[in-house]
């Protein structure tokens, strides 16, 4: 792509494994590359041509601690952690800030991305009697997990993250999805014209509602498009600088980057009400949400 088709920039619409591999190649060829939603911390460390428009897992984990300990004022938390880079980085961020927000981590359980049966974990969580459950996962693991927790009579609030952020989660979990709260990038109740235009345009074209993945990719494309308008496609170094210095209003909020190419933006907190995602809160805390800069 880079040497023969003369591609001037790339956007990753994939998870961390392939994004990390590609980041090295884009950096070696000094071609700007934006990760739309891969979370691994090493991605932007490939070099100055690599950027990320989504949250790092650690950042979102810290936001989760803030949400449970401060906004919801709950103390005894059980963690159910997806055993991959996404879940582990979320857990690391959550643990890092849990004490600061008065959270006691009662127990932590791990599961594999292949698991859909959580009977043993559900039984133990029930015995733990937590005030809240911080459970990482994707919609296809979180849907069955939430169903099984609620089915067993566990009523503690369940806090998830952007991996839940899909209509499909609500479809799988059904009525048990009600009240589930997540930290994510997309605010369905946003009044921002660009977010509204994205949500409506996506649904019109796709035939189903947008999720975080769609919004994050839309954001990455917008960031690149704005930079191309400013610097043009002819000079990749100038294009990189234009991305690095951008401040743009996108479907996931106001986007700018730190020195490492990590995004600086607010965390959206969404809740399932009436079978739909809605705004629960917005976490605006530059210090808490600061990604690493080197």
């Amino acid at each position: 792509m880079i040497t023969q088709d003369e591609v001037v920039a790339g956007i990753s619409g994939s998870y961390s494994g392939s994004t990390r591999a590609a980041a090295t190649i884009f950096q070696e060829n000094q071609t700007p590359y934006i990760s739309a939603y891969a979370v691994h911390p090493e991605i932007t460390r490939a070099g100055p041509y690599v950027f990320r428009t989504s949250f790092m897992g650690e950042v979102q984990g810290r936001a989760g601690a803030n949400l449970i300990g401060d906004l919801m004022d709950l103390g005894r938390v059980v963690m159910i952690t997806l055993n991959n880079d996404f879940g582990q980085s979320l857990a690391a961020g959550f643990r890092d800030k849990a004490g600061d927000f008065g959270i006691e981590i009662v127990n932590e359980y791990a599961y594999s991305i292949k698991d859909r049966e959580f009977g043993a974990i559900v039984s133990k969580v029930k015995a733990d009697e937590p005030e809240a459950i911080y459970a990482s996962g994707y919609f296809f693991t979180a849907g069955p997990l939430v169903r099984q927790l609620r089915g067993a009579g566990v009523t503690a609030p369940i806090i998830g993250q952007e991996g839940y952020d899909s209509e499909k989660f609500i479809e799988i979990a059904g009525p048990d999805a009600e009240g589930v709260i997540i930290t994510t990038s997309l605010d369905r109740d946003s009044e921002s014209p660009i977010t509204r235009a994205f949500l409506e345009g996506f649904e019109e074209k796709a035939g189903y509602r947008a999720d975080m993945v769609g919004a994050s990719t839309h954001t990455a494309v917008l960031v690149l498009a704005e930079a191309l308008k400013e610097a043009g496609p002819g000079d990749k170094a100038a294009l990189r600088d234009a991305i690095a210095n951008t401040t743009v209003e996108a479907s996931t909020g106001t986007i700018s980057f730190n020195d490492l190419g990590e995004v600086k933006k607010d965390v959206q907190v969404q809740i399932v009400r009436g079978g739909e995602w809605h705004r629960y809160a917005v976490i605006k805390d530059d210090e808490l949400l600061a990604p690493p800069s080197e």
Partner: protein, 288 residues
């Protein structure tokens, strides 16, 4: 009480494994083929279960459709994929089986989409208090009942019917069975039909438990089913049942007490290795 709950949860999981692995054991017992594509039939059972239930509102009808439909597909797999390879080394059939499984996953993704399908209104969700403060959904109870019934019927078929005698004779020595007038092709067709029907039953029930059927739903059963039949003693129905339940319970406790060190599959395979070190023929395997 927690230990009782973990044991019950493990037995439920074991019942699911048993339904999946019994079909594999039947095929291995008869043809000495490691039928990896069995997991694709399990997934197909899940898809038929969801699609028919959503279209008709009847889960019972969906189960019947899954059993018959997948049973027939299983016979077709035997006839078109394994039958022409039976005089080749077993490795050839194994490679064909793996290829079939991978192809099936991609076909499901292309036909049904990558996101998976869910029940519009999942049935059997009411919670039943099976022990004080231990609730299981009707679907979970049903899967245990189905496993018990399926194993009971299989045992009866095998021990008390002419079909069972023909079946066992074909397993022991196909040539002698043929010389006694047994139509061994018919026996094999029946074997694949029953084994695939069990996979369909498990697939539809697991789809209901998770309210989700995805193209990769068979990925874990594809290799764990093989682990179970090895653990049980290749070809032993009783061993498969014991291994399924044991693995379910080991995983249940292991997830809680070893989960920070090993994931569920690693616990299962560590158990498998330990058993094979102590009993190389598996839990109920007979000496060659």
């Amino acid at each position: 009480m927690l230990y009782v709950e973990l044991t019950v949860q493990g037995l439920v999981q074991g019942a699911i494994y048993a339904l999946i692995a019994l079909g594999l054991t039947l095929v291995y017992g008869l043809l000495r083929v490691l039928h990896v594509a069995h997991a694709a039939l399990f997934t197909l059972g899940g898809y038929i279960g969801v699609i028919v239930t959503n279209a008709t509102g009847s889960f019972a009808l969906a189960l019947v459709a899954a059993i018959i439909g997948v049973g027939l597909v299983g016979v077709a797999v035997y006839r078109l994929a394994y039958r022409p390879l039976l005089d080749r080394p077993p490795l050839v059939a194994l490679i064909a089986s793996i290829g079939l499984y991978i192809a099936a996953e991609e076909i499901y993704r292309l036909v049904f989409g990558a996101y998976g399908l869910s029940f519009a209104d999942p049935p059997l969700q009411a919670q039943v208090e099976v022990l004080p403060d231990l609730f299981l959904s009707e679907a979970r109870i049903m899967i245990v009942v189905l496993a018990v019934v399926a194993i009971g019927v299989l045992g009866w078929l095998s021990a008390a019917t002419r079909t069972g005698v023909a079946w066992r004779a074909t397993v022991s020595d196909p040539d002698i069975a043929r010389s006694f007038g047994i139509d061994i092709e018919r026996v094999r067709w029946l074997n694949f039909f029953i084994g695939s029907a069990l996979a369909a039953l498990a697939g539809a029930m697991v789809a209901l438990l998770n309210n989700l059927v995805e193209p990769t739903m068979g990925a874990v059963p594809a290799y764990k089913g093989l682990a179970i039949i090895v653990l049980g003693g290749l070809g032993s129905v009783r061993g498969t049942l014991v291994a399924s339940l044991a693995l379910g319970v080991i995983e249940s406790f292991g997830t809680i007490y070893l989960g920070h060190l090993l994931d569920r599959d690693a616990i299962a395979f560590a158990f498998l290795i330990l058993v094979l070190m102590l009993r190389p023929r598996g839990l109920m395997g007979r000496a060659a």
